[in-house]
Amino acid sequence: MATRAKKRRSAKPKRLTKKDLNAMYRNMLRIRRFEEKTDEFFMAGRVKGAVHVSIGQEACSVGVCTALEDEDAILTTHRGHGHSIAKGTRMPEMMAELLGKSTGLCKARGGSMHIADISKGHYGAHSIVGANMPMATGMGLAYQLEGSGRVAVVFFGDGASNQGSFHESMNLCAIWKLPVIFFCENNHYAVSYHVERSTAVKDISVRAQGYDSPGVTVDGMDVVAVYEATAEAVRRAREGGGPSLIEAKTYRFFGHSRGDPQFGPYRTKEEVDEWRKRDPLTIAADMLKLTEAQKKAHLKAVDKELNDAIDFAEGSPEATLESALEDVYA
């Protein structure tokens, strides 16, 4: 599109510095604390509707978004708070959305499952499982046509990889060489249905072979591993190489949604405990050799930001009834 400045971004992935890794730890902690507070608010009846927290999956959100520029796009899922925060979504307006306030990102119409902040390249949480992949394809097509070098990343789960939309989108992106990255957070469960029962292949990444595209499986609890895989996929996409599929093996420490206990009929406490030993924050803290004092400093800064966001949300007016009829049409 000639009206937009044609800009070729550097395709070379940056090498992570200790400062970068510190920022990544901080971002994961921001997600963790936001989710803990969201859960607390939900249990207290202050956050209404459906809430799916992403505790345990923070390395996926942060690893991916660290490899992106502000202008790049993400599209996420019903479990999208982490991706939102990692992409730079404004936390006060996000908390206001969860509390159903007029200042919410979606003006209290979307709620937890539809967070978006277009100004930050966050093109929405899309709560129909798999629906975001065709949209990411179209965004990739737009970026290719405008020659901007931007990429679109679409997050989805193991469950969504069995939707037709995944396969149709992978094929379209592959035949047109679109700058789209399919990032599958394989947290092993589609609600209660284990991936080994739902999915014919052991590693979802092998499905990329059916679309003549690279597919890789990474440790979704290791933020650096996620970053490196994403950076390589971004490089390829910016250079016109087309789509990539990244599968991150990860785990949600909480239930599917707040109606679902941490363990119950479909998974055991032992299984949850085993995964918790590989907490992505602990892994990153160990990599950084963070002292207790340093961790406390991080926590203090994060909680300050979070409390400010809560203050903003709580101080915001309720959405008016009239606003329920606005923005139906442009």
Partner: protein, 379 residues
């Protein structure tokens, strides 16, 4: 999907892609359509057909012209669909790939969910995609991106973006394609806030509504009846945009209002001719867009004639006519001298065999009978 084989495609109309045994458009229909005066009476706007020099072109050519003009005007307009580069099935996209290149006009795999979803995504990113769905029946494969995404995104994301997407698709029967290639599903989409629905009945409206749809910042579904593609009609030279939400009076009359949707406007016009022979003056009104629906112009006609028949090709139950009937009686109840009548496809799938298909689809005689019943004239 019927396939044009090498053996048979020569004798079929390449641009029509229709079988031999299609139902003929009544001769009177074309005559009634051309040079109608004041086609937009009731809208408060100047009659469009008097503004510019007119020429006769087909419905398909009118749509093609709209694409060419809008793609020239706005480089964000792109076209995607199955076999659109060669315009191989109904011909609407002919010449576009050659003129605008295969970046902007691209064939897609048979992947309706994927391509409509990609249209939504490209629209989110600032383009103005037009996605062709080869038969309206196939749109069911893309209901999620249309209904759950395109229609809701602007609202759901707090007005942060808009989705200027056009999905065009041929609907309707009369060509012996059977239950899965003959449906008129406009009523489904009329029900959904956030999407607009247009159903033009003649070449001038086809061009005007198509241009308006492309310029619209909202998702629009354009339903093009297959039987109309080869129909000729007067279309103004030059820029011609028909605003959404303005019904058109296609024939003036005083005794009864016949509201026709899409191709059924022509059954209404043919019925009006027959009724005229018996001294009955029927007014034919075409809503042109179903969402938004210009209930005021429809009700205004009924307040004049006091009787109303609604003719559509979707099924009777919960059809377009159900909605229009409710709206008209709400606005003109005191003026009605008879119950509002509805003529529609019978509540069965559309069968393939010509006699059976004719039986299920509405025809001119059905409209005449319904009108006479409303007028208390023996049928």
């Amino acid at each position: 999907m019927p396939v044009l084989t090498k053996d048979n495609h020569e004798e079929q109309d390449r641009h029509g892609g229709l079988g031999q045994a299609q139902r003929p458009v009544p001769a009177t229909v074309n005559n009634s359509m051309i040079g109608m005066s004041s086609p937009t009476r009731g809208s408060g706007k100047k009659p469009e057909l008097e503004r510019n020099e007119m020429r006769e072109i087909t419905f398909v050519d009118a749509l093609t012209e709209a694409h060419h003009e809008e793609m020239e005007r706005d480089e964000r307009v792109i076209v995607m669909g199955e076999d659109v580069e060669l315009a191989y099935v109904f011909g609407v996209t002919k010449g576009l790939a050659e003129k605008f290149g295969r970046d902007r006009v691209r064939d897609t795999p048979i992947s309706e969910l994927g391509i409509v979803g990609a249209g939504v995504g490209a629209a989110m990113a600032g383009y103005r995609p037009i996605v062709e769905i080869m038969f309206m029946d196939f749109i069911m494969l893309a209901m999620d991106p249309l209904i759950n995404q395109a229609a809701k995104l602007r609202y759901m994301l707090g007005g942060q973006l808009s989705v200027p997407l056009v999905v065009r698709t041929p609907g309707g029967g009369g060509v012996q394609y059977g239950p899965t290639h003959s449906q008129c599903l406009e009523a489904w989409f009329m029900q959904i806030p956030g999407i607009k629905v247009a159903a033009p009945s003649d070449p001038a409206d086809a061009k005007g509504l198509m241009c308006a749809a492309i310029r619209d910042d909202n998702p629009v579904l354009m339903v093009e009846h297959k039987m109309l593609y080869k129909m000729k009609g007067a279309v103004p030279e030059g820029e011609h945009v028909t605003p959404f939400g303005q019904a058109a009076v296609k024939r003036e009359g005083g005794d009864i209002t016949l509201i026709g949707v899409g191709y059924q406007v022509h059954n209404c016009l043919a019925a009006a001719d027959e009724l005229a022979e018996e001294g009955i003056s029927a007014e034919v009104v075409d809503p042109r867009t179903l969402a938004p629906l210009d209930t005021e112009t429809l009700a205004e006609s009924v307040r004049k004639t006091n009787r109303c028949i609604i003719v559509e090709e979707g099924h009777l139950r919960s059809g377009v006519g159900s909605e229009i009937s409710a709206a008209v009686q709400e606005e003109a109840f005191d003026y009605l001298d008879a119950p509002i009548g509805r003529v529609a496809a019978l509540d069965a799938p559309i069968p393939f065999e010509p006699r059976l298909e004719d039986f299920v689809l509405p025809n001119t005689a059905n409209v005449v009978d319904a009108a006479k019943k409303a007028l208390g004239v023996s049928v």
